[in-house]
Symmetry: C2
Subunit: 380 residues, 2 copies
Amino acid sequence: MKKRLMTPGPVPVPPDALMAMARPMIHHRTEEFERVMTEVTHGLKYVFRTRNDVIILSSSSTGAMESSVVNLLSPGDHALVIGGGKFGERWAEICGAYNIEFHFIDVEWGKPVDIERVREKLESDPFIKCVYSTLCETSTGVVHDIKSLGAIVRTFEDTLLVVDAVSGLGAVNIQTDNWHVDVVVSGSQKGLMSPPGLAFISLSEAAWAAVEESKLPKYYFDLKAARKSLSKNQTPFTCSVSLILALRESLAQIKREGIRNVLSRHARLAQATRAGVNALGLELFAKASPSNAVTAVTVPEGVDGKALIKLIDEKYGVTFAGGQDELSGKIFRIAHLGNCDDLDIVASISALEMALSDMGYVMSLGAGVRAAEQVLCGSV
Amino acid sequence: MKKRLMTPGPVPVPPDALMAMARPMIHHRTEEFERVMTEVTHGLKYVFRTRNDVIILSSSSTGAMESSVVNLLSPGDHALVIGGGKFGERWAEICGAYNIEFHFIDVEWGKPVDIERVREKLESDPFIKCVYSTLCETSTGVVHDIKSLGAIVRTFEDTLLVVDAVSGLGAVNIQTDNWHVDVVVSGSQKGLMSPPGLAFISLSEAAWAAVEESKLPKYYFDLKAARKSLSKNQTPFTCSVSLILALRESLAQIKREGIRNVLSRHARLAQATRAGVNALGLELFAKASPSNAVTAVTVPEGVDGKALIKLIDEKYGVTFAGGQDELSGKIFRIAHLGNCDDLDIVASISALEMALSDMGYVMSLGAGVRAAEQVLCGSV
């Protein structure tokens, strides 16, 4: 069966990137590989919109999240964690694992954080060293307002803003330097449309100063060692060579399209997806600020959410993601992320409406596709 | 130029494994991927020679080394670290990073550890919870006697033996269960002839009991979380899907050849390599117990070691590894590891003798190849 992967990571990997991994293995301590590292770090800086170094870690994105706790903080430092979904809560879990005392802003899942609550917390506790937020909360399809967050956090001297842009980068607008985001964390398998297994982290000069002072224990995720190696276009430990070769191709594709065009494409695909599901009488899970990377849809009354996803996958070959943790069975998620185009959205909405029809859900077949097309061809 | 990769990781990856990575990306939270995980974990247990779970981490092997420190120890526990090369010393660095007090057995580089020194240390300090050793010390080409180490450590109740078998596994004999090795750490890019980026760790029941008690901080490398996911053929975080698909092919190839045959092939290739370099008047760096994974050769007087490696690479297309740290320029290393056969060794020795001849080193052209052939065709 012909398969279409519409999950928020991994995403379909472009053929050039897949083929790069099929070439004979090369050694990493060579000039040949160092040239690849140079290209890849340039490409990452372009997508991150930063002049800062972008460190490449061979790990899941969670490793880069952990690295931005253990390299920035010391025992006694406080943190501020913004919740609102599974990945916001992961920041809290990591701080907890390292005995860092943290304030937690408990945002209702499906809503973005109220920026004023962040200001209040920062005013209440001068020992907050890092604010940990998410750009696109993959579990709910909601985007937090990082630009406003950056504007607030920079008014608090010695406080750093750290953003998990894992599923956001390359799909949702984030301007690392312009918006004063000290640390941006991301991964390979989302907007960067490479295979999973690489994580990235950019740090401002203020963040590097914190790294110098940090006293939490670390070894594999030690960013000072990574930065020292990066200055020689290397990594401290044997890295995932194949994945870096794939990433080079994906980054080149982003460069050719242009990052602004990449972001507008994601905006168009997301808008078309939202129009399509709404036209079928379905509701978005996001109450506000829906993401251009992934659309979370509330499973309608009377429909078995897990059965719906299974049917779409097994009968129509389109893979959506289910809900995670407390949202399991209650939502499904359609990614429009990375290597994804207009007709992928048409196919996805089509599979959704046919499966809903199979399950006896009452709507007008073709209505979702029609609404999506109106957005895609600009007729609305 | 036709290239031959003869470095101790990464090693040449078999075509089937490379091709597996070129197939369209699949999602990891699917039954399809869980079937892959089942196959891969069976294959790993076969190569590790263990009934224990083998955990797969998406990281360099150093990540698995770190995980066997942070998951086994608590503040106040002591460790015993066996040196003798760059990787033995890495255990000390990791213990140091987590403020674990450790004894260090300073083994002369190029020699295996004297097992009696281990017994003495263990008798001197009842607070030693873990003994950290290396199977094959990749930096020197020396193998430590893990079987004897296992026999000694097991006589000390509550003390665990942890072995870095990164470059050893699948090339040098190690029998995890039979030899009472509590924890074995390895990686994908050596004897398992897959691309770099995956690390593995097997733990005995006694080791899992230590994991339950451990109080060092961890998150990404938390083995309890990994074991819980593994019971569902999953990983806690998005894993390096492509690399696991490649590993499945490499493990299948090992299974077809049979692990005993794989080990005898490595023994034969190593013996041929040693015979070849000796016949050219060169000396092994290993004073005793040379490894079947990699042969370290002392650069002869009057020859520029770095220039020699460069010439072999650039003129003959064969990539050897240089020396690391204090051995830089003093040795070169020829791997006979993983996806490597008799004629690869012939080609390597041939490139070596031609390059030595180019550099004016006096020996009899063809003598090295002849000596290697005598081993390979069994005429000695």
